[in-house]
């Protein structure tokens, strides 16, 4: 095989630091460079999705003022917005970006176990993004089937992009899955097999646990999306009828017959629900580490947190049909899936309690990462509570396909993970670049974003209860109360402000790269291994000649009797750094 197996070696001779610009920054096999490539690409395509959402909001808030988009464009905009946000931004950013950067550094490895495969993973992901973008330019434009791509309308005439757009989307998803699999196999194997000495599983930081479990979910859930994408591609190109029943569409009857649209829904949501947790679990893990570091207190109930992550991961495979209460499936299924859905709330609530209890009597530093982490607790509790509503069949049926659902999923899987992404960017930027990000701009970004998302999504719950349907271009002839249009206008204005506030982040990222204060190796005085590297930013191979050895768990903050209020994981027990009874020393 064409790799140098070096992830867990002391011997640095295997590491020839790449010299030329191309091998160092472009065709790089270094997990840190690949992480940045993933991150930059994901954010770039995410900005497209953000702009699309603002265009939609302008239409909804000021229906006749701008005429930026036609009704069919609106469908295309929601579809591309939703799909890009969920898959190409959040999944790629958490696993390809943070997963790549953090796993080897936090586990004390030199790199992923198969760096070459890891590099290919990024380039294939880039190809998926390119094919997705090509979808915008093919005849008929991108698909307008909604991000759920439900057949039969996804491939029937009359839906925008039903000939070319949908095929581009399906192919792009297929390529994305290949890329994800190559990366994901690496992340899982690295966590399982290539940790440094002393880094037992029960000493790993929760960030690694979250990313690791999410990757496993991805490896088991994406197959269902792949299979449904293959079948739908065949339906739309070759003319098979997997998902297509006999029907009359726009006056003529296509040649399909006998297929099952419900089958697609089952396959899609067998992927789609775990996908929610693919995005959420890394956020759970990362936010635990942010809270603990910036509250100078060990995470409350570490073992419980790990088991909760694993339990949520398993349960997430048996709740998928709560997205299908109104699909016409057997009503008894609704009973089963409502029960499992409410069960999954137990480990989830447990995590929330533990985050709050971590803050309890902590020495809270309201740094920018901490603000975002606390903001996450708010938005996540909020989105989680509305999830309990929607999990119950009888409550969901009248609310389904209204703005209540839009508000719910934006709070729980849009805003909450994005806040963690922001917090994580402010937290790890000093390690990635060696510079601090500007604090004032960071605070400004936080407050506008945090208050702004409430201004956007709180009123949407009310709209939903009034029955305002989602995926509508305009409500002209429907008799909604006056307040609906006024609220829509207010929401749009808030959305524009929040959208603009993201420019502060982009500016800050670039500005701090050149003008930021030097951060030193460990500006947050954190315990985890990535802050203990000999160089900042870490060099190729991460650790210099000797790999670190780990003596304690990741949360030795404010240990009584220690000379500092934190003890890094690689400090052996001694007079100024007592061995702790935490989960480190006895596992």
């Amino acid at each position: 095989m064409a790799y140098v197996a070096m992830a867990d070696r002391d011997d640095p001779h295997a590491l020839h630091d790449p010299q030329s610009f191309v091998t160092k920054y472009i065709w790089s096999q270094d997990h840190k460079v690949i992480a940045i490539q993933y991150g930059v690409t994901a954010i770039a395509i995410g900005l497209v999705a953000l702009v699309l959402s603002l265009v939609m909001r302008l239409q909804l808030g000021f229906p006749h003022a701008f005429s930026l988009i036609a009704p069919t464009d609106y469908y295309q905009a929601i579809t591309m917005h939703g799909m890009i946000m969920v898959i190409y931004l959040l999944t790629a950013l958490f696993l390809g970006g943070f997963g790549n950067y953090l796993i080897p550094l936090m586990c004390g490895s030199r790199d992923m176990v198969f760096p070459y495969l890891n590099m290919v993973s990024y380039w294939v992901y880039l190809l998926a993004v390119i094919v997705l973008v090509i979808g915008f330019f093919v005849p008929g434009g991108p698909t307008g089937a909604g991000w759920t791509l439900y057949p039969p309308q996804a491939v029937s005439k009359g839906t925008p992009g039903a000939t070319w757009g949908i095929v581009c989307m399906l192919i792009s998803l297929g390529i994305f899955i290949v890329a994800f699999t190559m990366g994901g196999l690496n992340y899982v194997t690295t966590v399982l097999q290539a940790r440094c000495r002393g880094m037992t599983l029960m000493r790993m930081p929760l960030s690694v646990w979250g990313i690791f479990t999410a990757t496993i979910l991805g490896l088991l859930a994406f197959p269902a999306l792949l299979v449904s994408a293959v079948m739908m591609t065949l339906d739309s190109t070759v003319g098979t009828s997997f998902f297509m029943p006999a029907m009359v569409s726009m006056g003529h009857s296509p040649t399909h017959s006998g297929g099952s649209p419900l089958l697609f829904q089952h396959l899609f949501w067998f992927f789609g629900h775990p996908e929610v947790y693919i995005v959420a679990l890394p956020a759970f893990g990362i936010v635990s580490d942010l809270l603990s570091t910036h509250a100078r207190r060990h995470i409350f109930g570490y073992r419980m947190m790990v088991w909760a992550i694993l339990a949520i991961g398993c349960l997430s495979f048996v709740v998928w049909a709560h997205h299908m209460y109104v699909s016409g499936m057997n009503p008894y299924f609704g009973f089963f899936f409502a029960t499992t859905t409410l069960i999954i709330a137990v480990p989830t609530a447990l995590k929330v309690y533990n985050w709050v209890l971590t803050l309890w009597r902590g020495d809270i530093h309201l740094t920018v990462p901490m603000l975002f982490a606390i903001g996450f607790i708010f938005t996540f509790i909020h989105g989680g509570l509305t999830g309990l509503f929607l999990g119950n069949v009888t409550v969901d049926v009248p609310l389904s396909a209204t703005y209540f659902v839009v508000a719910h999923f934006h709070m729980v899987m849009g805003v909450s993970p994005i806040l963690v992404v922001f917090g994580a960017v402010y937290h790890w930027y000093p390690k990635i670049t060696g510079k601090m990000m500007n604090d004032f701009l960071g605070r400004l970004h936080f407050w506008i974003t945090f208050l702004g998302v409430y201004a956007i999504y709180l009123p949407m719950h009310y709209l939903g209860i009034l029955g305002v349907p989602r995926r509508y271009y305009a409500y002209t002839t429907t008799d909604f109360p006056q307040s609906v249009q006024e609220l829509n206008r207010a929401i749009t204005i808030s959305a524009l402000i929040v959208g603009a506030a993201q420019l502060i982040l982009l500016y800050n990222l670039v500005y701090s790269l050149f003008r930021g204060k030097p951060s030193g190796p460990n500006p947050w005085r954190a315990t985890t291994l990535e802050w203990q590297t000999p160089d900042t930013p870490p060099h190729h191979g991460n650790w210099g000649p000797k790999l670190p050895v780990v003596y304690r768990w990741a949360y030795d903050y404010s240990v009584p009797g220690a000379s500092d209020d934190f003890i890094p994981q690689n400090v052996p027990p001694g007079p100024t750094a007592p061995a702790t009874h935490g989960h480190g020393s006895d596992t």
Binding site: V113, L185, L192, G239
Partner: protein, 227 residues
């Protein structure tokens, strides 16, 4: 590779640290990285095939038209007599035999027997190629003689051809990829790459993949030809 690193490291650095960490220290499984990765990949691939087969069962149950009768469709004429499932029986035999030769290759790999390992892997690849060839023959018979098409056929509902070509095609791609993989690794066994590396474990990793592809075939065989 990973295992010898464990032993190469002197345990001197803090006996205490070593004592407090037991089994879960560096590695969760005492096997090489490549093997762990293959296991995880196969688990993911299992989900792909499970989705395909569940999809197949679903369309077969929910379609209203009568499904094609497999023993009539998949029969082969010898002289004047139609023998049901003859070709497929031969194909299955070939594939299962190839699993046997693969297992022997792994065995000879552990004995560091370069030439026999290479030969057995090439035999395995040959049997795999033979399987794909017979599958191509079966497909062309269905398409040219029976007139089965992915979008419809006289023999049953349109889903019959669609799902048959899709699933056996996907499996056929797996076998073809396996043949290439086997040839590449066989070449490396032959030119002494693994002798220099000090371990033949890659042969075993290929073996895992190959046995998996065979195992999947057993399910496809049962669900498509015997149901």
């Amino acid at each position: 590779m990973a295992t010898d690193v464990m032993t190469a490291q002197a345990p001197a650095e803090g006996l205490h640290g070593v004592a407090t960490d037991f089994a879960a220290d560096k590695q969760a499984f005492p096997v090489p990285w490549g093997k762990v990765m293959m296991w995880i990949f196969l688990l993911s691939d299992t989900f792909i095939f499970s989705c395909f087969l569940t999809g197949y069962m679903n369309v077969r149950i929910s379609t209203t038209a009568k499904w094609a009768n497999p023993s009539a469709v998949f029969s082969l004429a010898i002289g004047q007599t139609e023998v049901p499932l003859l070709l497929i029986a031969i194909m299955t035999m070939v594939l299962i035999t190839s699993s046997g030769t693969m297992a022997m290759a792994v065995n000879f790999g552990y004995r560091r027997n370069r030439s026999v390992t290479t030969a057995l892997m090439l035999v395995t690849a040959g049997l795999g190629a033979c399987f794909v060839g017979m599958q191509a023959f079966e497909w062309s018979k269905l398409i040219l003689i029976e007139g089965v098409r992915p979008w419809g056929s006289a023999l049953g509902p349109p889903q019959f051809g669609a799902v048959f070509f899709m699933v056996t095609g996907f499996h056929g791609l797996h076998v073809s990829a396996g043949v290439v993989y086997l040839c590449v690794v066989a070449m490396r066994v032959w030119n002494g790459f693994y002798d220099r590396k000090g371990t033949y474990e890659t042969v075993e990793v290929v073996g895992l993949y190959w046995h998996f592809v065979d195992l999947v075939w057993v399910f496809i065989f049962a669900l498509f030809y015997l149901w």
